[in-house]
Symmetry: C2
Subunit: 165 residues, 2 copies
């Protein structure tokens, strides 16, 4: 999907929330002398919808094209967060969870349950062997804690980098 696929105002609003929002957070961290910033991105940034990803790892390359505009802008926000690393004493890194599920989820699993209840889950998209990744909420929270602690450790180099969860 390209920006041209969106109504200009919708694109502008997405930009303001995702990219300008990330810039505002970076500037606020600098002004308030925050030392560590962990950005919650998305594993979707490596998936452009054109081919399956099996056993992908951190060497997996961002395709440069994205399946939707939100993810495109998310990748740009990630980039600004990573480039802000080690400037004015601010250390940054990026985490990329997949579809999140777990306690307190009011949208994802309830959506699947409601679809099934409504009899709208009786079909399969594709060959039936498609797999999708999910990340449990507690793992997302735990990853953020590990990232923040490791940013300070200076032993393991996570600063300026991005990690899938």
């Amino acid at each position: 999907m390209e920006p041209t696929d969106l109504d200009i105002r919708d694109f502008y609003n997405c930009y303001m929330i995702i990219v300008q929002g990330a810039k505002n957070v970076i500037n606020a961290c600098r002004e308030c002398k925050v030392r560590r910033l962990v950005y919650n991105s998305s594993a979707d940034i490596v998936f452009d919808g054109s081919r399956d990803i099996l056993d992908g790892d951190l060497s997996f390359i961002c395709p440069g094209k994205f399946k939707d505009m939100l993810i495109d802008l998310k990748f740009q926000a990630e980039g600004l967060i990573r480039l802000a690393n080690n400037i004015d004493g601010l250390l940054t890194c990026v985490l990329r969870p997949s579809n999140v599920f777990g306690p307190g989820d009011t949208r994802f699993v309830p959506l699947l349950v409601n679809l099934a209840k409504a009899g709208l889950a009786k079909f399969i998209t594709g060959c039936g062997e498609n797999m999708s990744d999910f990340t449990y909420t507690e793992n997302v929270a735990h990853a953020h804690i590990c990232a923040a602690e490791t940013l300070d450790s200076r032993v393991v180099s996570v600063a300026g980098k991005a990690f899938f969860i």
Copy 2:
């Protein structure tokens, strides 16, 4: 200046030319197996208008706020170019000239000359000691040649970095 200072369509057009344009160039380089990409950015990205910069060097920190939207978007485009480094065999770096002057200039120096002819150059902004940087066209061209050659050399590390000219 923030995105909100611009009419949404103007902002969108600037985004499409500067940021989407840089992404299109990166994707085209990947598709055509281009090995080296030198991006022409601007020294303005370190100047937010709030304070003078004297004897600035490469350690100079981008303020995170910019004097206008074009430079803000230019900084984002730079970031995408630098993050594209060393992916799919593409090496990238960024050059940041100041105000360019030299043979073939149809705008900058002619503008100053016309202002002077029209008697509109008889005032000084500020204390009269303000300095502004200028980069001669041939130095810009020479810098691009040096950057492209050095990207290949693997002796000096310029890949993924940005340089003022």
